[in-house]
Each structure stands twice: as C-alpha cells, then as structure tokens.
Assembly symmetry: C2
Homo-oligomer: 445 residues x 2
C-alpha cells in the first residue's frame, strides 16, 4: 500500500484528486488531502473510502512534518512560494515530491541533498509549464534522433474561454488566477530570431503580436512570453538561431489590453489615493491629462490615438470603465482596482467551459531540405471543477505520481519533464485521455 | 577649536571643501578630508595649513569610528547608501552629521536615538534636495504669515549646460552623475491638480511635459519628478489642490529622450547578450522588429512615428547610435550601454560651464484675490571644479556646518531645512554668494 499526500485542494487540484481517487483501488493507494480549509479538502474527496481530508497549516512545522512523514509521496499544489518549506521536509524525511510549478531557486538548490536522500522532486508537471515541455521535447528528440538539425523553435500556450461560451467583446474570461492575468508580461520579454536578439519592454509588448491559427479553432494572437532565451539551455538548443515562447489570445485582445498598460493601470507598485470615494470614471481619468473641459472618452482617444467608435473603445465601454459608479474598494494599487472591474465582467458563468490551446512550430534541416512541424493541441473543459485548466494541470501530475509509485521513474534529485523516461509515458496516457497533439509537417521553400 | 570631518572628496565636495578652508582661520577650524582615494582628498586641500587628507574606507569599522570620534561634526558626501553606517556611528559617538542627501528610511529611524544623544543630523542640504526646500518654505511661510491661503505649488529644478556652452542638438551635457540621468524618472510619477490625482507611468513621462521660461534664460520643458504628493506633508500643505514637482530640460529634449524610453534602452534590470561583439547599430536594432529587408532607421521611424528628417532623428544620428562601430563594452544592461554612448557625446568639454535653474510657482488667495508668485533662480558654474552643481550643493552644506559649530542651530534629531531657523540664515548667505531668487508677483484673474 502506498500513501499519497496532496497539499492544497483549490481549483487546480480537482482533476488531480479525482484521478488519484479513481485509480486508488487498482493501485492500493491511500490518499490524504490537506488544505487550510478542511471543508474544501473534504468536498474534494467526497466520502471516498481510500481518502481522508485534513486541515493543514503550512506554517505549523511540527504537524507539517508529521503529516509528510506519514506518506510516500507529497504532491504540492500550494502557492509556489510555499514549495520550499515542503521540499525541505521531503529531503529530511526522504519522501518524493511532485509539483506543477516552476523550479524555484530554493528548490533547485536542494538537488544535491535530494540525491543524497534518494528521493526525486518532479516539477513543472502541469500544462505550462509541463505539457509544453513534454510535447516540445518529444518533437525535438524525434528530430535529433533522425539526424535533423533544429533551426527554429516557437511555442505558445493560452488559457481561454471555449468558443461556444465566448460571449463578450474581449473574447476572454478569467479561467485562472485573475491577478496573474493582470500582471502578465511585466518586465522585459526577450527572444532570438535568425540570430538577432530582440528585447521588448512591457509597455511595447502588447503592440508586438504575431498571428497564428490553431487546428480548427480559428485565429489567435501571440505575444512574447518573458525570457525565451533561457529555454535554449533547458531544451538543449544552445545554438538555435530562432527561439520564441508566446502567450495565445484571441484577435483584438492585445490591442485593447495595451490601453491598460499604456495608461499605467496594471501597475501593482503603489497604492492610489482616495480609492474609497473613487468612481470608475475617476479611476481612468487619474491616468489622463488634466483638461476639465474635455470629457474622459475624448481625452483617452486623443492620448492614445483611438477611434472613438472603434473596437477598442467598444471593449472599454463594455467593461463600464467610464461609468460614474464607485469602484467599491477602500484601498488598492491600479492593478488591484483594474482586477476588481475585470473580475466582475470576465467571470466564468455557470456552465461556461474553458479551453487550453498550445502550439509548437519547429523548423529543421535534414538531407539538405528545410521542414516545418506544426504541432497543435486544444482541449475544452469538462464541467465546473474539471476545467481544461484543471484537467491539463492535474492529469500529468497524477500520472507522474502513478509512475513514481510504480517504480517506473529511476531519477533522483530535482527534475522537470524533459527526458523521455518522463515525457513518453505521460504524453501517451494524456493522449488516451484526449489531450493530444496534431502534427502537420511541410517543406519550407 | 572645532574639528570638521568631510567624508568623500568627489566632484560635489570641491566647493564645500573650499568654503570650509577659506573660513577655517576666522573660525579656528581643523578640517580632515577622507576619501578612499587619499590622493584625491589631498588634491582638494591643496596643502592648506588647517587641513589634512586621509585615506578612508567606509567598511573598516574600527578606523571609521576612530576617525569620526576625533571630530565635532561629520559631513558625509559619500554615496547615499553609505550614510546609514556613518549616521549610526555619529549617534553612538555623539557627533553632529550633515549631508546633502535625501533622508533614507535608515537615517530617519535614528531620529529618536539622535535626540537622546543630543546631536543633530541635517540632511537634504544641497540644491535639490536643499535649496528647493529652503526657498519654497520661505515663500510658503511668508504667505501664511500674512494670512494667505496657498492653492497651487509647483517647483522645478534642472542641472543643465550654461547657454554659452550649449553646443549640441540635445541642448544637454552631463553636469552630474550620468547614471542617475539615464535612470531618471523610473517608476510612477504622481501629483495632484485642482483636486484631481494624476499618475504617469515612466513610459508616458517624457510625453507629458509642460513649458516654462526662467528669467532671461529662455524656454524650458518640465517633466514630472516622481512622487510630488509626499511634499504636501513635508511642506505642511496637506489640503492643497495642486502640487507638482518637475525637472527642467531644454525644449525638444524630452521628445528625443522618450525614444530611448520607448525602445527600452534605459532598462537596467537585465544584461544584454553578446555585448562584446555588438555595434551601436545592432544595439538599437535589438529593440526593433525583425525585418531584415528594412533598414534600422526606417524601422525606428515606422515603429515610433518619427519623421525621418525631423529633429528627433537628427538628435539620434548626432549621437552615432546608427553607426556600425562597436559599443566597446564586454557586458552591460541597456542603460549601461546607452550611458557609454552618452558619456562620449555629452561630456563637458574643458572650459564648459554648467547651470542650475530652479523655479517655484505659488498661487495663493488673500483678501478675496488670487495671486501668483513666480520665484526663479539660475546660477552658472565658476570654473572646472566649482561647477554650478558643486557650488549649489556645497555652499548650503558648508553654511549649515558653520551655523552648527557657531551654536546657532538649536535642533536635535534628524532634520531637513524646512524651518526658518535653518533656511533663513542659509538663504541669506547664499544670496550674498550670488545664488538668489528673483520673485515676480501678479494677480490671477
């Protein structure tokens, strides 16, 4: 009998928990779900015979260590900043650990200790990061194995609303953490194209989009996703002349979102004044010139070169950002206040389904010819808790736990799924579960 | 006999040291100048009988404390981040301290301990901060004392090249720390105008300029200078409907500088790739679209809406930023590389003189009428070490030291010069030294 501890019972854990419960009789697993909200944890196990729910306080070291010590593998679905505490305990108590999060500096530094303890720490096993790594590395390794030389690598992912439920002028709803969406892209994005390094500051990011189509889901925009350069080393593509990672949005989204960026409304670094008496109209006016005889809409159009009757203004008006209604907060940074507005308007409605879309484009040279592989995946959410986000994050994590407990992963230390040993069985099972990539290959002239 | 310790013998200390040496016989002062470069310290005292130069290492606690312990007052002209070390020693050793720098959080927290030690720590005694506070507070206090109500406060300062030596198309040369000039304005600028809060993100800052004229020095542009709102509390203007602080530049500067901001060239947060083999043309191209068939100049004009034959392009071409010459660095952030280019082009030439310009505009209501005071100051540098910057920074600091040692300052703890006790005698003596404000007052309809 193996014992699995799942820490965190939030949105993205639903499918993970369901998968492990569904397979618990077959594999003889006992599952503990810990959350600071024991009720939430309890609702997720729904009385399953092989599971218990417990209240879990990450900062209570004694009970945290006791709980971890009683299990064979720990799956941390907690906020990423809490992973190091869990990871440290896992090293001390010699327990395997699995997460869907980026490897932090703190976790990376535990690599040697984890090896010495004989445990493995598998990270970046969700969708992005996760399925993106696995599907890309499979393509890259396949090309290399047949003697091809990779010349271009582009990879983009987006969490979006499924087409049938795409009912607002932004063609966007919040399908995951709204705060992360509001702050997305801050800093400098960097990539390389035909040997030329390119750097895009945040305030230019949403004006520098490319277009693509994904399967029969129509057109998408792609904006650059932070530091693409570091993926050269991660994927073993050190000398590649073109590498680019992007985020997918529906056409027209970026141009409208850019208005918030230009105005400074996504800034989370200071608290605004007099928020408690602020209306939405005053909020947007705070970022415009003082010109009391000109109305706010005209000032905005003049400032940012917008057509008063154009699509961008229609999107903004639909949000109610020009309304004389209170923002309804007592304090807030621009980003926090904007998030409040968007949460009201971009909330998933009951019955809404989300979509995850992912696409890799890889060009390579073989036998003197240049070829392009376009590998695309789109998956639609199942139902309320089992959104596409929850399914694509939770399923690969759950499969990794299964492989680990079945003794099929012979790794020690800190890893991400870029080796065939990890990505091959996971991608295979994801495909059976309907999360599959469709590859097209063409010759490039 | 009083003993004065001056820490830091760099550019901005020249006039300070000269003043104190010139008055040392009259007041019976012994002066020690400490610098990590003992040669530099020695050159500044130039064999004066009342002075010695010593090598000074801020991080050598033992000798630092010994040196401070041997003096009555310490003037720290070191980089601002080093002040807390000196301040802490001054508290322990019960020595007065004077600086030209902004009060840091660390120094502010020493207020109570400084009071208990019976010492005073005078800060922000240079030009900006310094003369700006003193001259503004004198106007504010005068208006209040005659029963006026202040409705508008605007204050702007600029360190510029003197008109006679203004020989380049930017109408700008480096008259102080180039790094600070390159990074100036980052973050969000905020102010209030007729009761409306306004927030300007960095990428919009240099497009939101006002115009002014200063005395007979012609036209200037003013761009907002970071957080103006906090000056409401500092100056006791809590309920004022309009408060604004700005930086002065010559007309056309901001529009051209904005190109660097838009491109992301003033970013100091990441290191660029392959700097050692980079040309200036490649440097600017790194921030432009990949479009190998279009030349860099055309891409830039198209990207940022520039006239290929316009003034902005002429300024950029004059800098040599389109040249196929190596940048000549091995590593660097965009800001560091840009600074290298500008240092070559904006360097003061031998014989060049700089200028400090400052202007306050204050509107107030009295006897049912609204009045505007425009108070302006401009001062030109004397000669190479005694630039306008050095004179306006060093003279008020030196005067404060004199007042302190003469027992004319009855303050304890951490202060800035916003009280008449400090600003009145200092402004008086500055006026005698030719640093004087010219006030015009008009009725506002």
């Amino acid at each position: 009998m193996n014992k699995i501890l799942i820490l965190g019972a939030g949105m993205s854990s639903s499918t993970l928990i369901r998968y492990l419960l569904d397979h618990s009789c077959e594999y003889d697993w006992k599952i503990t779900v810990g959350d600071k909200d024991a009720e939430l944890a309890n609702s997720k196990i729904n009385g399953h015979e092989n599971a218990i729910a417990v209240e879990f306080d990450i900062f209570d070291e004694g009970s945290r260590r006791k709980l971890i010590g009683e299990h064979d593998v720990v799956v941390s679905m907690l906020p990423a900043r809490m992973h190091p505490l869990v990871a440290n305990d896992c090293v001390i108590l010699k327990k395997h650990m699995v997460t869907a999060s980026y490897v932090s500096k703190e976790v990376k530094e535990l690599d040697q200790k984890a090896r010495e303890s004989g445990i493995v720490m598998l990270n970046e096993l969700g969708v992005d990061p996760g399925i993106d790594h696995m599907s890309a590395m499979k393509l890259v390794d396949d090309i290399r194995n047949k003697g091809g030389k990779i010349l271009l690598f582009k990879s983009s992912t987006g969490g979006l609303i499924a087409p049938e439920y795409d009912t607002n002028p932004w063609n966007y709803k919040f399908t995951w953490n709204p705060r992360n969406v509001v702050l997305a892209g801050q800093g400098t994005s960097m990539f390389i194209r035909n040997g030329r390094y390119k750097y895009i500051p945040y305030h230019k990011l949403f004006g520098r989009v490319e277009k693509t189509t994904v399967l029969d889901y129509g057109e998408f925009e792609v904006y650059p996703n932070r530091d693409s350069l570091k993926y050269r080393e991660i994927y073993g593509l050190q000398d590649i002349p073109t590498i680019f990672r992007g985020t997918l949005r529906r056409p027209g989204f970026c141009k409208a979102w850019d208005i918030f960026v230009q105005l400074g409304m996504t800034d989370d670094n200071y608290q605004m004044q007099d928020v408690e008496s602020m209306t939405w109209r005053q909020f947007i006016n705070s970022f415009l010139r003082y010109e009391p005889k000109t109305n706010v809409e005209d000032k905005l159009c003049d400032y940012l070169g917008l057509d008063p009757d154009g699509e961008v203004m229609q999107k903004l008006k639909w949000l109610g950002i020009f309304d004389d209604k209170p923002v309804g907060l007592n304090t807030g940074s621009p980003a926090q206040i904007l998030q409040k507005l968007l949460e009201d308007k971009w909330m998933l409605e009951p019955g809404d389904k989300d979509m995850i879309a992912m696409q890799h484009k890889i060009e390579y040279e073989i036998d003197g010819k240049r070829r392009l592989i376009t590998s695309s995946m789109a998956t639609i959410g199942q139902d309320a808790p089992h959104t596409a986000m929850s399914v694509t994050v939770g399923t690969p994590v759950a499969i990794a736990v299964k492989l680990l407990l079945a003794g099929k992963i012979n790794l020690k230390g800190v890893h991400i799924p870029i080796k065939p040993e990890l990505y091959s069985p996971i991608l295979k099972e994801l495909e059976d579960a309907g999360i599959r990539f469709v590859d097209e290959e063409t010759e490039v002239e």
